[in-house]
């Protein structure tokens, strides 16, 4: 091939190549790349989270309080509790490291008030429980004195599902029936987020709750619709920090017991 010819051929190739690149560029428009980072750019050192010494497990249900928990009941006395009626001392029966419902005394609640927290509470239906459905060791744990997680013997005992153990009472049934039988201890581990209110008293952010019974998730970040009402729809009403309240339901048979109650503010 002569030199002239070669140059022409090269020129044509160049044009084709340019054309080809142009089409390619259109299809594959080149955008700037995100500038690369180094590992330490996504690492930060402060504030260091607080150090908490975990509790110690004993037996099948008992997990002692972590170092930063407020112990609400340690088996000895009810100094952290009062009657919601008049603030008088809580009159339930403390014995053998547990506290047993006293029907005559009514509900009891903590003197302290809480907003967002993690709560650990253990409860036992008496082995000789009688009764059926809702009349079988009925009690309840109320968040901020208003929102009830049902306590009841649901071991081989059925009732309406939004009223069985681990339900948000009259609202949301539990995801499972995770009961240990009467005479054995059950554990609730609860993570609760308080509502945020608008000025008109309605929820800007409703309360949410996670409930774990004996290691099994029953409520998974469930939205609470309003206060627990025995009759009718839940109510939405403005409130601030509130106590943990334990219900005395007044069943005719042997009453239920609680132990090892502690709470960590979140």
């Amino acid at each position: 091939m002569k030199k002239n010819c070669l140059l022409k051929k090269m020129a044509i190739t160049a044009v084709l190549t340019a054309l080809c690149f142009s089409v390619y560029a259109q299809e594959q428009k080149e955008y700037p790349k995100q500038e690369p980072m180094r590992p330490a750019m996504s690492e930060y050192w402060t504030p260091q989270p607080k150090v908490v010494t975990p509790g110690t497990a004993t037996g099948n249900a008992f997990l002692s309080a972590p170092s930063d928990a407020i112990v609400l009941f340690d088996g000895k006395d009810l100094s952290e509790w009062e009657s919601p009626k008049d603030g008088s001392p809580a009159q339930w029966n403390v014995h053998d490291g547990v506290v047993t419902v006293n029907k005559k005394a009514g509900d009891i609640q903590t003197k302290r008030k809480f907003e967002n927290f993690q709560l650990h509470i253990e409860w036992m239906i008496p082995a000789n429980i009688t009764g059926t459905g809702q009349v079988r060791g009925n009690s309840g744990v109320y968040m901020q004195g208003k929102y009830e997680v049902q306590v009841l013997d649901s071991y081989k005992s059925e009732t309406y599902v939004n009223g069985q153990a681990g339900s948000i009472y009259k609202q949301t049934p539990p995801l499972a029936n995770a009961m240990r039988k009467p005479g054995e201890w059950n554990v609730y581990d609860i993570i609760y987020s308080a509502p945020v209110f608008k000025e008109d008293g309605t929820y800007r952010i409703p309360p949410t709750i996670t409930v774990i019974q004996n290691g099994i998730v029953l409520q998974n970040h469930t939205t609470i619709l309003g206060t627990t009402e025995y009759i009718g729809f839940p109510k939405v009403e403005k409130h601030g920090a509130g106590p943990i309240l334990l219900q005395s339901h007044g069943d005719p048979s042997e009453p239920i017991s609680f132990r090892n109650i502690w709470i960590r503010e979140l």
Copy 2:
């Protein structure tokens, strides 16, 4: 008073009364009341939640699998696990009811894939661990193979906070440092919700995670921002169900061990 006058007076009084009522009505306008309900109207009976027999606690950390859990490691073999590289058998060391990281084998992952679940996993930093910071028993538990909860010895050992035990690695530090010391077993109880994607591959609903270590809440329904990246920002990329993956980080000193791994789909 004459009859005429009386009538006039009565008429004026009537007008005043009517006026008064009208004002009152405006201020205290009577709206219909919500019609009262009966208790059984807010009770429903089906479907009854499934019955799950809780696990049994032994010692300070061990809680055996509930009846409906998939047991991923029961101390005997790695039949539920494989190498993420090629699906070949997982080559970590099973001994004494535990499984210990094998640096040469790399990461391992479950053969099964999961979406929304509750995961229980126990892990122990060897008592004779050496090294500092990130080089101290470093491993990790990945949700859906993509989102890492850091495993590391953070007992009296500091590092960047979004890289310590219980952090969503390179994203969110834990709420507390809840470590048991090297040679003791730690427990993670994790509740995970998978993301929901739009067609363009971005999150419609991002993944969320709750992490409890030794009974202490470390992550409280934390939003996960994207995949775990050692360098740079988390990435958002579409995916379906994915495995639980355990990281082999390759530290020079004695490797960490796992035991009693089970999962419940939610």
Copy 3:
């Protein structure tokens, strides 16, 4: 002061100073700093969002469809609509660029089904409307055929608040009464996110809705509790994509009209 005394004083000062420094050091422990970044590290270029040509506003309420919208009613015909009873053609009355409810024909719904979307719809209560409360131009826009945003004349007309214009019917009242009077056009701009279901048919993520009437926010990312029920509690039942449905309520007086209906999938 004698020299001895001065030395002692200096010694004490030195100890105090050292102590003070020690405390200070403890408080001001030096942690590594997060490595600085450059601006382009937090900038990314792809994918570029789609280009949408906005609609054109005419008069007081009309905003024409953006370029990527599906036009559900453009004033000419009901080709996008059908009877929910049997899929037969929608028999409402098209005239003057609007469509007016035909009581005899019952509800109408779109042939297409939707999940997550932005919906624009304009509606007019006839100027000569009669009746009171719920019997005053009653209609409704149903998301996915199941969740109703109430359409009603609430201009200087009261009813139960969870049944007035802009309410999630029988669930959540609107944040305001933003009505234009009978004979004038009202606009609803709605942003709707479909629920995500668990296998058991309950919501993993409930539906949410934002409703803007005439430029005023009535529902602000409101959680929908379940299907719209005239009697009793909302129901939670599994479903997939669903139509937009317009209600024929069958009031005795002059029926209401709709126009300019378009939807953008999100």
Copy 4:
């Protein structure tokens, strides 16, 4: 078959049938039905939402303030605005019913502070704009003085997507490019929810934002990750109510203008 044999066979069949019925009965266990309600039980009348007179639309973008809005700029003066540097009067240029950025004066912010709100703001890139990418009418609307929705000419002009019009600057790109061209008015309708903080200064609930440009949804209840930072990751820092701030970016070419700014607290 002998009679004896037949009887035996019948007996076995009967047992099988009984067994079968028993299984069936177990599957079809009769539970109590939820007690029926009446319509008025799910209707409530108070409180009646406030009555708001909607604004009036004029031309293609202008929607005047509803009756309950705080008018931040009505075309006449900047009495609601100040300099964020020292609280001195805002020195931007008011003319022809609009306000135009004054580079020398820097940013301006509202004297009032806000938490949760709906904001309407109109803005126009000058018809003779020059420059490219980020240097093309760059400004911004900051929620609570901290979180920026980008204002920029993105009409047929590309830049990094988390920096184009309608992006949460350096965080989240818009869902669409909904620009009107230079010389025409654009509208932002924004719904913003303020963050809720924990005591440690981190978000308990992060801020969320919905942005609608010219009737098109750009941000759909987007979670804001932290303050807008030109360099590096968003920062999380505790704050209370804050102003609306408009940015003076100091581009060399003709500056952009705003008009018709109003806000409603939610």
